[in-house]
């Protein structure tokens, strides 16, 4: 049984210019899978993520989490659903500047009124596995980008969500920090069997995943599975990307090839 099902989802933004951001998109995510969603700018990646995170509703079609249909929940139930079932990692971290690192991590649990002992116990395990000890009592503006993203990951994990949604988690990081964060994510995926859906347009980031889903102009374009070697997987991602660029295979600059 897949943990997340996206069935024929269409999202139309009505306004002065009607815009079909997602068109008849269907896919499934299995438990413990690490999925990357790729596509050029404006392909509907962020819209898709917003739909999955239930802060936006599809115009038609449905999204099912483990038998739960968020469309049928009211606003308060949705809030409770998000806080228990979903974990978020953002491009710009979205850590709250007035809280220390420690407080930022336990924030989802305080929102859910968990007892302090539970918070401390879970915090301690995370601090160890994510190596946050050295800056636990600092404020977000006193730590580096890589450290901040690690904190954000800890915050996304502490309430043990069914699925983690990551929006360009490496978008603001340099190559070393990016690699660190991605290795961390795939380690979490393997060790804890956590399901992760990551939106990105960085092929290196995508090459850490089990499967890459390509969308273009809101429609399904292609998908490829990981093989034994990351290097060849990366190469295949690049090939699909070059096809994505509007049919002209040659317009992908050679500089982006390693």
């Amino acid at each position: 049984m897949p943990i997340l099902q996206v069935k024929d989802v269409t999202k139309v933004y009505e306004g002065k210019v009607t815009n079909r951001a997602i068109n008849q998109l269907s896919f499934e995510v299995a438990k413990g899978e690490f999925l990357a969603v790729m596509g050029p700018s404006g392909s509907g990646k962020t819209t898709l993520l917003n739909l999955i995170s239930t802060i936006d509703k599809p115009t038609s079609g449905e999204i099912i989490f483990n038998y739960i249909k968020p469309q049928n929940l009211n606003k308060t139930e949705l809030a409770f659903f998000r806080r228990r079932e979903l974990g978020f990692i953002f491009q710009d971290f979205n850590l709250l500047p007035m809280l220390t690192v420690e407080e930022n991590i336990v924030l989802p649990l305080t929102l859910d009124n968990q007892p302090v002992e539970v918070m401390e116990e879970r915090l301690n395990t995370l601090v160890e596995s994510l190596d946050l000890k050295s800056f636990l009592y600092k404020r977000p503006n006193e730590i580096s980008g890589g450290q901040a993203q690690r904190v954000a990951i800890a915050r996304a994990l502490i309430h043990r969500p069914t699925i983690i949604l990551a929006d360009e988690p490496t978008g603001n990081l340099d190559s070393n920090n990016s690699r660190e964060v991605l290795e961390l994510l795939s380690k979490i995926n393997k060790e804890r069997k956590t399901t992760i859906v990551m939106v990105t347009h960085d092929p290196i980031a995508a090459s850490f995943c089990d499967r890459v889903l390509f969308i273009k102009d809101g429609e399904f374009f292609n998908e490829i599975y990981r093989d034994d070697r990351r290097q060849t997987f990366f190469q295949r991602i690049l090939n699909v990307l070059s096809l994505l660029g509007g049919g002209q295979v040659g317009d992908l600059s050679s500089i982006r090839l390693p």
């Binding site: 809030a79 978020f88 709250l96 007035m98 809280l99 305080t110 929102l111």
Partner: protein, 643 residues
């Protein structure tokens, strides 16, 4: 599009941002203009009310202007901060700093002139209405609307110069930030904690010391304390907001069981920084609110004084004259005929009061006859006095003195005529106003009074007694024009060095109308100033919130993704706003409460009035206004962060 058009469009299209600033300036121009209209009024100008109210009005105007300057300066700074991203873009596109200053200057002048013009127009259209109120209060026949250039020029000059100077100063003295910083938008504030234990302690100790002093204050220490207490409280409040509050929140945060709870963590964590970054503003708001509370409280005190006036002055008219006063007959008959002309019922009692020396104190004592007093008591409807030979009774001079005198028993001899008197009772109600009878007045029986043949030993150097004519008039408020000529002689004589007239006259109705109108004018002036203060104090907080709105939106966006329900969002906003609104007010309330405890004690000594009831009413009213204002701002705030 020229540069001027750009500035103009900026203002017109951003009117929503400017609305609060505009409204506050508009309202203060409005109030200022109406005051000036009253101040320059030809009728009032000619000394109708004497100099005191005019002086008070000038003081109020000056306070208003000073405060407005500060207020405009503060809101200017908040705006520049809130619009830093826009300025960053402009500078990025190649605007010079000089041009930016010019832009800000032009925009301020546009807003300023708009609020001045509108304020004056509204002020002028409302001044007829205002004059009608003033006319009623001052009991004038008419207070016509007039047109003269002075109020217009004064208002325009004062406010235009304020806008010009402040817009120039605030641009020049605002710290220059790098373009790249400006582009990031308003500074999120500094997130480090800065408090020292000494100053934390100092804040609390100074305030408590001030409170303690105001409790132990007595009449003798009034002057030294009334200088010391405000200084203590001012410094105490400053340190309280800069350090003590931070300390309290930080120590709360150390208790995880309290801190790591549902919607407590965020508001608590924020409070430290809100308090730290806005400490100075909270300090100003507190002091301003205290001033406003005090003026409202004092006004209600005055109104309580006027409402107790008739209790303190039971008689309508009092005419007091020397025994050989040549005008006595004509004056009294004038009064009587005037009263009859107006159709006012009255009860006239004639007293002959004799002075004697008491052997007990060796001082003079004023002696009243039993039947004279009974005649007045009869018209009051009070119980009569029954005295037999050798008995005496004290006449109370204040409400307080009744209690004091009732415990005293004195055996004395009226020295001049060698009549022994035993005084062991006091009349249980106030018969005469305190100004008429001496502190040493007694009633004796008619038999004893008849024996007072020998005059006071000081005679003929000192008057041996006096005649007193009292008019008990049920409709005493309507006697304002009775005995005006006598009243004028008396008041003219008061201005001389020595009071030489053989008579004295008091018209309670007329005095009451003077007191009432003066106090009403005070009230009017005070209430308007207080209104401006309170409005401004609220606007300070509003501006600060507005500046931070973008950051707040981002914060709530992240929280919404992480999953907070609508109710939780509301409760977060409430907890975020509540301390900002009610901490300064709460401190101001407690400051004014202690100030009133002191004032109440002083007043009890001086004027014998209680102000508790009026005060509670006035303060409750203020709290109500604040609660309404809080919900208004909360409603706007939630609407902003929700979308």
């Amino acid at each position: 599009m020229t540069f001027h058009q750009f500035a103009y469009r900026n203002v017109i299209r951003n009117l929503r941002i400017y609305a609060a600033f505009f409204m506050a300036s508009f309202f203060s121009v409005f109030v200022f203009f109406i005051y000036s209209m009253l101040m320059f009024h030809p009728k009032i100008d000619r000394g109708f009310l004497g100099n005191v109210p005019i002086l008070w009005m000038v003081v109020a105007e000056i306070i208003l202007v000073l405060f407005t300057w500060f207020f405009i300066f503060y809101s200017m700074k908040a705006f520049l901060e809130a619009r830093s991203k826009e300025f960053g873009i402009l500078l990025h596109l190649g605007m010079e700093r000089r041009q930016l200053s010019k832009l800000v200057f032009l925009e301020t002048i546009i807003i300023g002139v708009m609020s001045i013009v509108l304020g004056i127009i509204f002020g002028y259209s409302f001044s007829k209405f205002f004059f009608m109120i003033v006319r009623e209060i001052l009991m004038l026949d008419e207070l016509p609307l007039y047109l003269s250039w002075e109020p217009f020029v004064l208002t325009f000059a004062v406010y235009l110069s304020a806008f010009i100077v402040i817009s120039m100063v605030s641009v020049h003295f605002s710290p220059q930030r790098k373009i790249i910083d400006l582009m990031q938008g308003p500074k999120g504030g500094n997130y480090t904690v800065t408090y020292t234990k000494t100053r934390t302690l100092l804040g609390i100790v100074l305030i408590l010391l001030g409170y303690w002093l105001s409790i132990v204050m007595t009449r003798t220490s009034l002057y030294s304390f009334s200088i010391l207490i405000p200084i203590l409280i001012t410094f105490g409040t400053f340190y309280f907001f800069s350090d003590s509050t931070q300390y309290i929140v930080e120590s709360l945060k150390k208790k995880k069981i309290v801190y790591w709870k549902n919607s407590r963590m965020l508001p608590l964590a924020e409070q430290t920084f809100i308090l730290k970054n806005n400490g100075k503003m909270f300090f100003v708001v507190t002091m301003v609110s205290t001033l406003a509370f005090l003026s409202v409280g004092l006004l209600s005190t005055l109104s309580s004084y006027t409402s107790q006036y008739d209790k303190l002055n039971p008689l309508g008219l009092i005419y007091k004259g020397h025994i050989d006063n040549p005008y006595e007959g004509t004056h009294v008959s004038t009064l009587v005929s005037q009263l009859e002309e107006r159709g006012l019922s009255y009860h006239l009692t004639r007293f002959t009061v004799k002075k004697q020396t008491s052997s007990y104190t060796q001082y003079e004592v004023e002696v009243f006859r039993e039947s004279d007093i009974n005649s007045l008591l009869f018209s009051y409807g009070y119980p009569m006095v029954r005295l037999s030979e050798g008995e005496g009774m004290f006449i109370p001079y204040t409400e307080e003195s009744i209690k004091k005198l009732s415990k005293r028993t004195i055996e004395t001899v009226l020295v001049e005529n060698n009549i022994p008197i035993k005084i062991d009772q006091v009349y249980p109600k106030l018969i005469f106003p305190g100004s008429i009878v001496s502190l040493n007045s007694i009633i004796i029986s008619d038999e004893d009074f008849a024996k007072l043949v020998n005059p006071y030993k000081g005679y003929p150097n000192v008057e041996p007694g006096y005649h007193l004519f009292t008019f008990d008039i049920p409709q005493w408020i309507e006697t304002t024009d009775i005995g005006l000529s006598i009243q004028q002689n008396v008041s003219a004589e008061y201005l001389k060095d020595e009071y030489l007239l053989p008579y004295y006259f008091e018209n309670a109705g007329l005095n009451y109308s003077y007191i009432l109108s003066t106090y009403s004018l005070f009230t009017l002036v005070g209430l308007l100033v207080a209104a401006v203060f309170l409005l401004a104090a609220g606007s300070f907080i509003y501006f600060k919130l507005h500046t931070n709105l973008e950051n707040e939106k981002r914060k709530f966006d992240a929280l919404k993704r992480m999953g907070i329900s609508d109710n939780e969002l509301k409760s977060l906003v409430t907890k975020h706003l509540f301390p900002q609104f009610f901490l300064p007010w709460g401190v101001a309330l407690s400051h004014s409460l202690f100030a009133f405890i002191a004032i109440q004690k002083v007043l009890k000594n001086v004027a014998n009035i209680s102000i508790v009831k009026e005060l509670i009413f006035a303060l409750l009213f203020l709290v109500l206004i604040q609660v309404i204002y809080f919900y208004l701002i909360r409603w706007r705030y939630i609407a902003h962060v929700r979308d």
